[in-house]
Symmetry: C2
Subunit: 415 residues, 2 copies
Amino acid sequence: MDKLENIGRLARSSSRILEKASSENKNKALVAAASLLEEKNAIILNANQLDIESAKNMGIQGAMLERLELSDYKIQLMADGLRSLSKLDDPIGKISWLKTQPNGLKIGQKRVPLGVIGMIYESRPNVTVDVFGLCLKTSNSVILRGGKEAIESNKAIVSILKEALKNSDLPSDVLQLIEDTSRESAFALMRLNKYLDVLIPRGGNALIQSVIENSTVPVIETGVGNCHIYVDENADQEMAISILINAKTQRPGVCNAAESLLIHESIAHEFLPKVGKKLNEHKVEIRGDTLVCQILPFAKKAKDEDWGQEYLDLIISVKIVRSIDDAILHINQYGTRHSEAIITNDNDHAQKFLEEIDAAAVYVNASTRFTDGYEFGFGAEMGISTQKLHARGPMGLKELTTIKYIIYGKGQIRL
Amino acid sequence: MDKLENIGRLARSSSRILEKASSENKNKALVAAASLLEEKNAIILNANQLDIESAKNMGIQGAMLERLELSDYKIQLMADGLRSLSKLDDPIGKISWLKTQPNGLKIGQKRVPLGVIGMIYESRPNVTVDVFGLCLKTSNSVILRGGKEAIESNKAIVSILKEALKNSDLPSDVLQLIEDTSRESAFALMRLNKYLDVLIPRGGNALIQSVIENSTVPVIETGVGNCHIYVDENADQEMAISILINAKTQRPGVCNAAESLLIHESIAHEFLPKVGKKLNEHKVEIRGDTLVCQILPFAKKAKDEDWGQEYLDLIISVKIVRSIDDAILHINQYGTRHSEAIITNDNDHAQKFLEEIDAAAVYVNASTRFTDGYEFGFGAEMGISTQKLHARGPMGLKELTTIKYIIYGKGQIRL
């Protein structure tokens, strides 16, 4: 992969230049890129049409085709995203602390870019623009490896973004697209340790697992969410139904949607028929344990593997638990450490749940759908980390940076 | 590896209990462990003697044998280390921020343990105690996989530490030692994603590279340091010599020791004979470029691979550069992103070096030997990270933790 080696080298060397760019310069480039995307939207839509046709020929349809398809409106949203990024605070260069040691050494901690970020992702071409914007804002070079189904759209978008970089006197090499969409190119990227500081996969579980298995570059694991709603014995049941229906049905295909409902046994006979009726109205298939199936005749019997499933569809697993401890044990065993919620009016139970659940975001009396960089007030989002190293939960700008220690001496030596 | 699966399960389940332990309880356990190590030092020394004998039979000698060998004094140092940890601030449970969103959701960020930390390391049995203390203080379970040359010492130490945990009403399962020291056990640990949150290798370059190559568990890369001292054209030359001799010779076997000297060409003819004489006095072998060999007749000719070497020995590579830009380019190409120093009286050059060098710690007019958790005032150290994700530079207590978002609602759903 000589070509990839070259892409890596260009990304690395241009990242040294980008690191020195002023916030003003970067923000101007973001706004320029937004305008150029709008101006040249016909080019993007034409390229996207080629992808759509190939996709249809390959038999792709439904949600996947929708994710791939662009429109004037979607291009407008991408451009707006870049403009809002330009208004956010730039984390790069900030000195978090500077202290003088007893020996007179002044030691400071400074925020710096990660350097070169790799991204492997599927279908949605808007990710190309989002990731470009987040990386430019944080002075990182980025190497993109999108899916083959979106290659024409990605090529058109990247070419426009590179033009905007040039027009703004920034090196266009900070944005690299791998046009080879073979499996081999993805595997080669996973081993490009010499030039990559981090690799972020965004997509389905299979893609993410493959990156974890094969990458020697440090990875930030994102996205898989088997999120639970636990309805405690003294929950406000109307609130519980409203939250569950929102978490399950508002956008069933996203990672912070609920996939499993746990109910305290003392309220099962009262609560299940009510929530079952509502789920039915929303065409949600219920896969329940034995007791659930006894109470709800229309429920299907859950298999063992249902408890670990991220359906991303109008399906939910439902289980009766004997206590909050049982609920916590079940969630810590089957959850993916993404987002988990308890519905309760008992403060001690709320506190216990918050403390003992091992997940990026733990909720009391709210929908898991709020796990999102914008909803959390970060102004941007690179994905949702489900690992514990470096970043956990929604990743904003700060998560795309690292620190460096700077030390000022007057000839100090170690004794 | 059914046994390892069991070790993982025990470490994970006990970590849930440890997470709820009070700071007071953990600190008492640290002090109790310190006393028990002192009380039972004969048991440790006897076990260590077995390791020493096997090591001698295997032909191990010199620095490696020294690292393996324990003494009353070394056990005292380990115990003192645990006592000082007990006096440090506990990061766990701190709420860094809590804010109310426009929709009334209260979102907070809380500091929590990583969970289960894996550690693969070589020879030095004091690492066993240090890592136990750091993990206990931060409420993490730890799975240790030490080298086979130290196995008897490690077993004796771990058994005493587990006794101290029990005496302090903490689960002794939070400390796990893998007694199987085969290569297979190390590889199995590298793939124990189900139970491990992070894996930290400590040891030589070969060990660290093997972990990076083979681990699917997130890794924090530590330790390899090809550190440079760049002597600028207007440096205080006496200071430069003092810093270089300290960085090269005070402890040549450690990762923050200097391995390479870069000199601005305008001072080469004046400075090189002076520094060469001093290096000679300290029995440091010089491997120089062509010009260096012309000026210093006793210097050996450096090969290409010398520029990337971490000698960990009384050897130094020396190169003449034409400018500070050349020096920065060379360091960013051959350095390992550990610690780099410039010696200069020119503020602009100092600033340029601090900004453009890509390393965990960048020094102006001080020895690279200061890159250390204690010297930086962190009160503890888990190793020195040379990667950019999660932790960079000396890792203290905070680097052994992560965050969790806690969200309080009143029935909010996403619109």
